[in-house]
């Protein structure tokens, strides 16, 4: 990726930002795509246990070349490792952890997030699109803190942070915080509050690229 042409944080910096907000001792589920990067950025000095819904608590970094195991993958079906002290379990136990409220943080990708924290991330609803939901609906229903990590806008400049989601919902009023390449935004009772902006991003620049009115 050519980071020099991109305004705001790189994908790795976004992952790092989200990783820095994870508290010591947290159990965290990382969704498919950009969330997977977060596992590479655990701050030093704190201990975080990563859950992947296909049955692993204690997911470690990607394996070295040649060390891949086809039976050790994450929810995105990519090769991972297991840390010392990791454990494996079946799917009903895995979703007991999720739906039963045992995980602290779920970090997901997004197609759209609305002002009230509704999330759409599984289908564009377009004719011919193959709907695929995976574990997203269970995660947003069961996990206490739901964070979204996503580019601020679509590749063709459309809003991803919208007044109301036009795509089919994953969950209603479920998102707590949004990490984008431009800013970190909290979903509050009063609306979307900007917590931090990337270097070189002004509030006006951010607002132009966000449909709902932001709180500075």
């Amino acid at each position: 990726m050519n980071t020099t042409e991109r305004i705001g944080w790189s994908r790795d910096e976004m992952a790092q930002k989200a990783a820095q907000d994870i508290h010591d001792g947290a159990y965290v589920n990382l969704g498919i795509g950009m969330p997977e990067l977060i596992a590479e950025h655990v701050p030093e000095g704190i201990e975080v246990i990563y859950h992947t819904e296909n049955g692993l608590l204690g997911m470690g970094p990607v394996p070295a070349a040649g060390e891949e195991d086809i039976e050790l993958i994450n929810a995105g079906k990519k090769y991972v490792t297991a840390i010392k002290g990791a454990c494996y379990f079946h799917h009903a136990d895995s979703f007991t952890m999720i739906r039963g409220g045992h995980l602290d943080i779920s970090i997901l990708g997004a197609l759209q997030v609305c002002e009230k924290g509704d999330l759409a991330n599984w289908s564009t609803g377009k004719p011919g699109a193959i709907p695929a939901v995976g574990g997203a609906m269970d995660l947003v229903a069961g996990v206490k803190n739901v964070w979204v990590i996503t580019d601020h806008n679509t590749k063709d400049g459309q809003f991803k942070i919208v007044n109301n989601c036009s795509f089919p919902l994953t969950g209603k009023g479920v998102v707590n915080t949004i990490y984008t390449n431009l800013a970190i935004i909290d979903v509050t009772e009063n609306g979307l509050k900007v917590r931090e902006m990337a270097p070189g991003v002004s509030f006006d620049y951010l607002q132009e690229r966000t449909e709902p009115t932001l709180i500075s």
Partner: protein, 237 residues
């Protein structure tokens, strides 16, 4: 004497009938019982309802079973993956049915089916299109959707180690749906990488108790779906 070991993978699946509901373990490639699936393709049973998290990749395994027009309906959570070509095409042409289920709801429906629980309420999918037309009920001020347990005629499962009683252990994230599928099928058919003597698996470490298993066949060197897909392999070859 109890002996659930059968001589061949073909024999293990030989009574899967037209119209059967078949659960197939695996999350992507991990845990997918590819030899049992290929023997089901050889057998040719039609109009199957398949319960599995994914719809396969390339032209082998579940994807090949679908391509062979043996599957009437898929019940799954994630029917599009990298290298998933067969299902999307048939689905777009209206040639295969899809019941899309959130992954945790799918797991719980299978668990419930195996545990004799006909239905349950879950918060997953409330306020989404996947809850449309379903009963919603409030408990403690929160909304939940009614979902039904799933039972199957057969489960096809891959494990690491088995004994003749049907006690099973798995390998890493290849475990996934398999233990619950074993509980939810009338006939559970297992391909095991190793067969050991009863007692060789520490009773504390048995993952699937043998009571949930009917047939075990040893497949000591299973094919790897990702390797077959990378080589553009097809089944039948």
């Amino acid at each position: 004497m109890i002996n659930k070991l059968v001589g061949s993978d073909a024999e293990a699946v030989s009574d899967i009938f037209d119209g059967a509901t078949v659960m197939i373990g695996g999350f992507g490639e991990a845990g997918s019982p590819i030899e049992l699936i290929h023997r089901l393709i050889d057998l040719g049973s039609k109009n199957l309802t398949v319960v599995s998290n994914n719809t396969g990749s390339g032209n082998v395994g579940i994807a090949a079973l679908i391509a062979n027009r043996q599957v009437k309906k898929m019940i799954c959570s994630f029917p599009r993956s990298t290298n998933s070509v067969v299902f999307p095409e048939l689905y777009r042409n209206g040639e295969i049915e899809l019941e899309l289920v959130p992954q945790g709801t799918l797991a719980e429906r299978i668990r419930a089916g195996g545990a004799g629980i006909p239905a349950f309420y879950t918060p997953s999918s409330v306020n989404t299109p996947l809850a449309e037309g379903k009963e919603i009920r409030e408990f403690n001020g929160q909304s939940f959707v009614l979902e039904y347990g799933i039972k199957a005629d057969f489960a096809l499962v891959k494990c690491k180690t088995a004994d003749r009683y049907g006690n099973l252990t798995y390998n890493k994230t290849a475990r996934n749906f398999s233990p619950i599928m074993c509980t939810a099928a009338k006939t559970t058919i297992v391909q095991a990488k190793h067969i050991v003597e009863p007692g060789d698996i520490d009773p504390e470490c048995v993952v699937t108790p043998g009571i949930f298993v009917n047939r075990v066949v040893e497949i000591s060197d299973p094919e790897h779906e990702s390797v077959l897909v990378a080589n553009n392999s097809r089944y039948p070859r």
